[in-house]
């Protein structure tokens, strides 16, 4: 139960960051794809840079998690097609919606009803991928 509360608290922090940094704003995504602001690049870039340090540190010191288990970061399977094609399809949607899956849910309680349709679309997209997965090149 305690762990659930911690996870909820981490989500809470993430939700506040998404709004306060305006990552969840359609306008910021548009501005990013127009290369008209450093804001988004700074956020993603610094998150990755510090993320690399954290991840390397965890590997080097063989850090343990809160339950005393070794932290293992599962690498993604090797491949090209699925990452490139899936990435492009995702990018098209990201730019049009101005939101990726995290920010989509961040905006759920913003009062914009359209978000419900957006999330519904994302669920259908996920479902359809499950249906035709075996017919797609991976």
């Amino acid at each position: 139960m305690k762990q659930v509360l911690y996870l909820f608290a981490i989500g809470l922090l993430l939700g506040i960051i998404f709004i306060k940094s305006e990552v969840a704003s359609w306008f910021r995504i548009y501005e990013m794809f127009q290369f008209k602001s450093f804001h988004m690049y700074g956020i993603i870039g610094s998150a990755i840079l510090i993320g690399i340090i954290i991840t390397e540190y965890i590997k080097i010191v063989k850090a343990k998690d809160v339950n005393g288990n070794k932290i293992i970061i599962q690498p993604k399977q090797k491949g090209f097609t699925r990452y490139m094609l899936g990435g492009i399809i995702f990018g098209l949607g990201w730019a049009l919606a101005g939101a990726c899956p995290g920010p989509m849910f961040v905006l759920l309680s913003s009062g914009f009803v359209s978000i419900l349709v957006l999330i519904f679309g994302a669920l259908i997209g996920t479902f359809v991928y499950g249906l035709i997965k075996n017919k797609l090149p991976h």
Binding site: I10, L14, S114, T126, K133
Partner: protein, 184 residues
């Protein structure tokens, strides 16, 4: 208070996102938002139609708690801590005006896309549904989204995530530069 109300600069937000990544790893979990969509499909009974959704979703329930936090945290920040809309590069404001999007610098989301009036038009409804579809489909096909690939994956210096992020940008640039002029 000033700090809470103003836009958080990149050098605050970026490190905080890395902090979220660390906290989730420390909890023995991982940072990935779009897998929740798969979990939600599985809870909804999608396992009847595809093996892709036949898994023990209870093992992924933890991520729904993170998601729940995101929804509540977003609501609090949006309604209580955000008195001003994103202030954009003036070039962008002009560009958008040419597309008929005049709510820049005044609204958090473009009213020309997200308002209820627009949702009740066929075009407005389809734009929402299709963009959501592309995000959901693409995220599962690529095996992750901005959090799973761009943040977690690139932090782990893995090639698949690098390819996926290049894909994200190709898709995004094509949409904004070649498809937007056709839509708006």
């Amino acid at each position: 208070m000033e700090f809470i109300y103003n836009t958080w600069p990149w050098y605050v937000a970026g490190p905080l996102i890395a902090c979220v990544l660390f906290l989730l790893l420390f909890m023995g979990r991982k940072f990935g938002m779009s897998s929740n969509l798969r979990t939600l499909c599985a809870i909804g009974g999608a396992g009847k139609y595809s093996d892709f959704f036949k898994f023990d979703w209870r093992a992924y329930k933890w991520n729904l708690w993170v998601l729940f936090g995101v929804v509540i945290g977003g609501g609090i920040a949006f309604h209580f801590f955000t008195p001003i809309a994103p202030q954009l590069n003036p070039d962008v404001v002009l560009q958008l005006k040419a597309y008929g999007i005049v709510s820049a610098n005044q609204s958090f989301l473009p009213l020309e896309l997200y308002s209820l009036d627009r949702l009740l038009t066929v075009k407005g409804f389809l734009l929402m549904l299709i963009s959501g579809f592309l995000v959901g489909f693409g995220a599962r096909y690529a095996g992750g989204c901005t959090s799973g690939h761009a943040i977690s994956g690139l932090s782990n210096l893995q090639m698949p995530s690098f390819i996926a992020v290049i894909g994200f940008f190709i898709g995004g640039l094509v949409m904004v530069h070649y498809i937007f002029p056709l839509i708006f």
